[in-house]
Point group: C2
Chain length 156, copies 2
C-alpha cells in the first residue's frame, strides 16, 4: 500500500523489521479506515466504538487511551452521540465526571464493524499457512505484551 519505508539502502536487519512493522501498520490502518468510511466513521470514531465495546469509560480516560486532548474528546463524543451511537452519563459519586457508554445502536454497529474488519483482513493473513499464522500471532503478542508492561511501569 505504501512506504514510510522503501527500505533498500543496504538496510540492517533491524531496519528491515522496522520497515515491515510500519508497512504492516499502514496496511491494517488502511483497512480500518476503509471499513470505517463505509459507515461514515473516522478511524478515531471507530476506535472509540472499539474501546467502549466492553466497558464504559470517563471522558478523560478515553482521551488518555487515544492520546487526545479532553477538548477534542468533547467534540468526538458530541458527534457520535448525535448519531445515537453512544450516551453520556454523569457519575453518581463525582459530579464532575462524565461516563461514556455505547447505546444499543452503537453496540450493534460495533459488532458489525469488527466482523467486517476481520473479513477484510482474512485475505491478508490468508497468505500465511496455519502454522505461520500461529507463529506470527505469538511473536506480535510477545512484542505487544512487553510494550504494555513497560508502559505500565513507566506510568506507575
Amino acid at each position: 500500500m505504501d512506504a514510510t519505508s522503501s527500505a533498500g539502502r543496504g538496510s540492517t536487519e533491524r531496519e528491515e523489521l522496522v520497515d515491515a512493522l510500519v508497512q504492516a501498520g499502514f496496511l491494517t490502518t488502511a483497512v480500518l479506515t476503509r471499513v470505517g468510511a463505509e459507515h461514515d466513521l473516522s478511524l478515531t470514531q471507530l476506535r472509540v466504538l472499539a474501546i467502549l465495546r466492553d466497558r464504559r469509560l470517563r471522558m478523560s480516560d478515553l482521551a488518555d487511551y487515544l492520546g487526545l486532548e479532553r477538548s477534542t474528546m468533547s467534540g468526538l463524543i458530541d458527534r457520535a452521540q448525535q448519531r445515537g451511537l453512544l450516551a453520556r452519563a454523569t457519575s453518581a459519586t463525582d459530579g464532575r465526571v462524565v461516563d461514556v457508554l455505547l447505546t444499543a445502536r452503537g453496540t450493534e454497529l460495533a459488532e458489525q464493524l469488527f466482523a467486517q474488519i476481520t473479513d477484510a483482513l482474512l485475505p491478508v493473513i490468508g497468505s500465511l499457512g496455519r502454522a505461520e499464522q500461529r507463529r506470527l500471532t505469538r511473536l506480535l503478542t510477545m512484542m505487544l505484551t512487553a510494550h504494555v508492561m513497560r508502559h505500565h511501569d513507566a506510568t506507575r
Copy 2:
C-alpha cells in the same frame, strides 16, 4: 496503547491474529504520529516525505499512493512547500503534469525523521530475541508481499 481489539470473548485463532495485527498497527502509528508531531508534521505529511525520499512523483500518483483526492494533495503539498520541504516542477513533456520532489531541507528532515522512528521502535522490537526478530520480519514480509502482488493483479 489501545484497543480496536480487546480480544477476549472466546476468540478464534484468526481473530487473535487480526487483533494482534490491529494492535501492532496502532502501536506503530502512534510512534509515527508522535515523531511527526515533534517536527510539526501530521502522519500524512510524514508519509509524503517518506514516499518522496527516493523518487519524485506527480501529484496524482502521490494521491493514489495515499488514497487521497487530488484536491487534498494540493493543500498538503502547498503547506509543505511553504515550509520549504518540497518543490513542484512542471513536467517538460506534458504541461498538465506537476512533479513533486524533496528539497535539500526536506531530504535532511526525512533522514532525521526516519532515524528517530527507528530509535523509537527499537525498545519495542528489542523485546524479541535476534532469531525471533528475523522470524517476525520474514512472516510480515511474506504477508505484505502477497498483499502487494494481489493488489497489483487487481489493478492490472
